[in-house]
Point group: C2
Chain length 245, copies 2
DNA sequence: ACCTGAACACCGTTCAAGT
DNA sequence: ACCTGAACACCGTTCAAGT
């Protein structure tokens, strides 16, 4: 995964300051930032690819709670305000991260396999990528594709696959949107706690639901989120497959 | 809708202070809160039902950005810290709102109609309620049902409907979860801007997707979010219906 | 153009003091 | 038990000053 990070590079060019990197955990490493004096540096310290990579590192380490503009700046050895020379807002940072992650979704099967199995692979891959990044879902869901080139590229490949499989053109977008809606909702489901359906002290007043939950648990092994995703996905594939001409 | 608010009542018992209510728009109505001196009041000013109703009013007026603990306290004429005698956190407030809204979802058809049309009505109602409240979706998706009695009650009715329709017990929860995932994702889709699929200057490099978008737009009239929701929902209903015994 | 440093207008939450 | 008022440790963002 690290190998796919954009513009793999250290936050700063190697310098004597690196010998102090063991102190990075200190609460206020002001001294590190102070190393660089005010005014425009000879070469730009930041760019969007570096900001994206740093954000992904931060998210990987501390989750989305740890992704603050201050923490992002600190990890890049700049003042928080420096970030605003490269992004307009924190939402822009999330958008950069989103577009980078979308490029990780596997669409290769659309070039090589029948429609059913291509959609299946794409959907599972898409869900798996964003299950780790659910805080991005509200961003993606309202994101004009113009602002996210990799995302647009994914849509082009997927819609091409639908078209080649004989889908009526006017149904392609609706089918993709429906699949995506299911995928986004299912990504949340992956993050739900194991006891989410424990009805606790209310069990006696909810016999039907409690029984259904117990019956599912008795089935055992497979993760409930995966069982539900598979069930829904196969129904959608079967239903949409019937639209093909 | 107002008639279904919990414990319909003013934020404070009628009092001479009400004559100053025209000043409530003032930036810092400290004087109103100062009207009540420190120490425990004779009768409690706050309760969870009142907090829920005030939160819903605030959301209705200014959206979820306007729902801050400070604004909530101001609308209830108390200091922000007073809220913490009745809720543990802001998340608790969102949970109260969520459970109240879930009670608005229409499950009545499960008692009176065939399974297909009951699921259809429930799903549309569920989506419509939360399309106006998408910031709650991350909360619901991870919410143990124990903490939300109305939500648990909805599950009981729905799972009872599935059972009565001949669903194998061990599939009921998975089918409901899959439907919910689709519903939550589709609720986001309702809020997407109309030009979300405008590929802009990239149109020439994405012919397949751009053509599909144009073809959908040419169909006209119906809202794209509704078309996609209908398409996915009918596929899920048809696919799940086949599981019945 | 692109950095620093100081400042702004917020957040949610805690806690002592009061009745 | 349930309020006020002050305080805390944050947020994202703006902007003048510097090179």
């Amino acid at each position: 995964m690290l190998g796919i990070l954009p513009a793999e590079r250290p936050a700063m060019p190697a310098s004597p300051a690196d010998s102090r990197s063991t102190r990075e955990r200190e609460p206020a490493p002001k001294t590190l930032a102070a190393r660089r004096r005010a005014g425009r540096p000879a070469a730009a310290v930041l760019d969007q690819a570096g900001i994206t990579a740093a954000a992904l590192r931060l998210i990987g380490k501390n989750g989305y709670d740890g992704l603050t503009m201050a923490a992002l700046a600190r990890s890049l050895n700049v003042a928080p305000s420096a970030l605003y020379n490269h992004v307009e807002s924190k939402r822009d940072v999330l958008l950069l991260v989103e577009d980078h992650l979308t490029a990780l979704v596997d669409v290769t099967a659309f070039a090589a396999e029948p429609w059913e199995s291509a959609v299946r692979k794409w959907a599972w891959s898409y869900r798996d990528v964003f299950a780790e990044h659910t805080p991005l879902i509200p961003v993606i869901a309202v994101l004009p594709v113009t602002d996210a080139p990799q995302t647009l590229s994914m849509y082009e490949t997927v819609s091409g696959g639908f078209r080649a499989a004989g889908f009526p053109e006017e149904r392609i977008v609706s089918a993709i949107v429906a699949l995506e809606s299911f995928i986004f909702g299912s990504a949340y489901d992956v993050t739900a706690p194991a006891d989410i359906f424990d009805s606790g002290s209310m069990a006696e007043s909810t016999p039907s639901f409690t029984g259904a939950v117990r019956s599912l648990a008795a089935q055992g092994h497979e993760k409930p989120a995966d069982v539900a995703f598979s069930l829904g996905l196969e129904a959608l594939i079967a239903g949409f497959g019937a639209l093909r001409e």
